[in-house]
């Protein structure tokens, strides 16, 4: 049938194809150019895709407003999809740094991604800015390992310290916590418990539904009825389901929500049952400042939804990078100098004044927010907004304890602080 000639030909063709592929996949040479390449690692696909869209939209909006030029230097963002997986985040980060020659990495959502990306930044001596990842220890006990890491966003327990104090000031004596069963949940509950009990309150019960819980039916009846309020920390679809089911069960006492429980990423999808629920975070889209009003309006008209903290945080990250570049006259100062300059910034951002503590975690206002159905910023329909009821200015991740005293305790976990008043 087949003679030898076509076979040889086929083999040659195969070899040529292989060689062609090898050539096509070769590294592009690094250009010595005046441009700033920023690698953005966000979940573009997968269950966190909406968060990923908020992140990249926030960043891109700042670039659009500045025409992608920071102090005259052209900014080239390269967005890579981490799919919410830490090992893939690392792979993509290496690609961004080694192949695309980005000067910095921005992003990562889950705590795991932060813990996975920070060592890469150390190994490859590349700036890594966390614009979301909140794992406490990255800027607490472990910061020494990550000289190129800086956090513009927040640490998990940072808004929860003032929130515990606030709850105590409202006169709540006994509170039940119900929080997603993973590190972010532990750190949020831990922060709340620390200040609430420090001021004389009692956490009388801790409930840990697994992440992704869709039916809270088994948990709700176990909530102790003598508690004054419930503290909840829910992520993703849990945030929508929990208040709905709790109110449906006839529960009328206050619900205090951890940071993301009532963030604008979830709020537009909630029903009127959440009106009156209180939460704490470093951003609210309902913040009554000219800067925020302009931001919300511009963002909403561009992307059709109210910005979440994910959007604001990445917008502000872009702004801070711009600020550093302005200081250097548009020249890339090198990774170490960039980190030092960024850590020294004092800026007025959309969410308020920002600076950094010596562990390179952001110091910022924490807002106590109450869900209300109201008209805001001249929009004609009444909608759910996180109306700010109290502002704690310039809150550090160490709250009022001081760095050294705070770092003596272990990182917040399922068992720390221990539940002294649980029976």
């Amino acid at each position: 049938m087949t003679t030898n000639l076509p076979k040889t030909l086929r083999r040659t063709a195969l070899l040529l194809t292989a060689a062609g592929i090898a050539l096509a996949l070769r590294s592009a040479p690094a250009l010595a150019q005046q441009e700033l390449k920023i690698g953005i690692i966000a979940p573009v696909t997968g269950i966190f895709a909406q968060v990923g869209a908020d992140m990249t939209n926030g960043f891109k909006m700042y670039l659009d407003q500045t025409k992608s030029a920071f102090a005259g230097t052209k900014v080239v963002p390269i967005i890579e999809d981490s799919q919410g997986k830490p090992d893939l985040a690392v792979t993509k980060a290496r690609k961004l740094i080694l192949e695309d020659h980005v000067q910095m990495i921005v992003g990562g959502v889950l705590a795991t991604e932060g813990y996975a990306l920070a060592p890469v930044s150390t190994e490859l001596k590349t700036v890594y800015i966390s614009s979301v990842t909140a794992a406490d220890d990255l800027t607490q006990r472990q910061i020494g390992k990550y000289p190129y890491f800086i956090r513009e966003s927040w640490s998990s327990s940072q808004p929860m310290h003032p929130f515990g104090q606030w709850a105590c000031d409202q006169g709540y004596k006994k509170i039940v916590t119900i929080a997603a069963d993973y590190a972010f949940g532990y750190e949020s509950v831990g922060g709340f418990q620390k200040t609430f009990e420090g001021c004389g309150g009692k956490i009388v019960q801790k409930i840990w539904p697994p992440i992704g819980t869709k039916d809270f039916g088994p948990y709700i009846p176990t909530i102790k009825s003598d508690a004054d309020a419930v503290f909840s920390l829910m992520v993703g679809p849990m945030a929508l389901q929990f208040p709905k089911q709790l109110r449906d069960s006839g529960y009328t006492k206050p619900i205090l929500g951890g940071s993301v429980s009532y963030d604008e990423a979830a709020l537009p999808f909630m029903g009127d049952e959440v009106i009156g629920d209180v939460s704490a975070e470093q951003y609210s889209a309902a913040l009554q400042t000219p800067a925020n009003e302009a931001f919300v309006k511009a963002y909403r008209s561009k992307y059709g939804k109210v910005p979440s903290y994910f959007s604001e945080s990445n917008y502000t990250t872009a702004m801070m990078i711009d600020d550093v570049m302005k200081e250097t006259g548009g020249k890339w100062p090198g990774a170490e100098a960039f980190i030092a300059k960024m850590a020294a910034l004092h800026v007025d951002s959309v969410r308020g004044p920002l600076s950094f503590d010596e562990n390179r975690n952001v110091v910022q206002n924490i807002y106590i927010k109450k869900v209300e159905k109201t008209k805001m910023f001249g929009y004609d329909k009444p909608e759910l907004w996180d109306v700010v009821v109290k502002t704690y200015p310039a809150v550090s991740q160490f709250w009022t304890y001081g760095k050294d005293a705070f770092l003596k305790q272990p990182v917040y976990s399922r068992d720390f602080p221990p539940c002294k008043f649980c029976e």
Partner: protein, 343 residues
Amino acid sequence: MIGMTRDHSKILAVVAVLAAVALVVPHTNSFVILLTTRALAFSILVMSVDLLLGYTGLASMGQAAYLGVGAYLTAILATRYHIGLGADFWLVVALAMLGGAALAAFFGLLAMRASGVYFLMITLALGQCVWGLAYRWNSLTGGDNGINLSQRPRFFGIDFSHEVKFFYLVFALFAISLLVMDMLVRSPFGRSLVGIREREMRMKILGYNTWLHKYLAFVIAGAFGGLSGVLWVHTAGIVSTDDVVLTTSVDALLMVVLGGAGTLVGGVLGAGIVFFVREYLSTLVHWWQYVLGGIYILVILYLPGGLMSIPQRFRQWRMVRATNAAGDMPAAPTLSSPAPGTG
């Protein structure tokens, strides 16, 4: 074909492709090298799944557990005791394979009582137990934050943090695994596994201890899963509950089906395609998921034997055409082709 059996030409083809990979990949960029390394490390797990699914007829849904044993063992030994970052890397390899085999030996006692879909359910449940342990045993595994490795091993004066060198290390271990598993499936033991897959009752009547055969296959697969874990954790330098989650097991199973069960190299091809689409194509386009979904659907609809059955289909099609062209010739040759999956 010109004095060569089909078996020989197949082996030659596999060797040629592997040689091409070993020669071409180091000249591509570091990202492609890393991706290929990841695919090869994961392929060892995929081949171990094929050993069970393709040769023994056991669909294991919990194979990520063994990868987890290897990965967590490597990470814990490296971060706590600084073991496995020098020449004692080989000690860790041995321990991980033993660990994987030991866990499989234990799980096998439970899972081997069932077959078919019940086997699938039990392995799934056992795999989830390992996930639950990794998630909960915070002090050992770091919970959902996982464990970071600060560096790759370095021995005999070679620093494997260099992508190309690490690629060759993984490639070598992958090639050895392929060789060993290939020898295994060609051995009388492997032949009896195929016999069990085809008709267990007959094998029993012939006097084979089928339980022991299946059990041994399960343990061997567990050992290779452990090896896969050691290499896998060094590719990204992190192990977390993400690695032992159900989807990792399902991925491995799908890769086998994609490439063709009962071929060993089919799973490797499947892994290569999935990694390329998921990790390389996703840097270029955001609709890579449709591509992957499309490939899965097309293969399942039109190539139930997986991608590795393409040459055979092609031969069949040519023979049919040839016989049709010859008109009155009897159409016998097509019958001689083996059933899909018997490779």
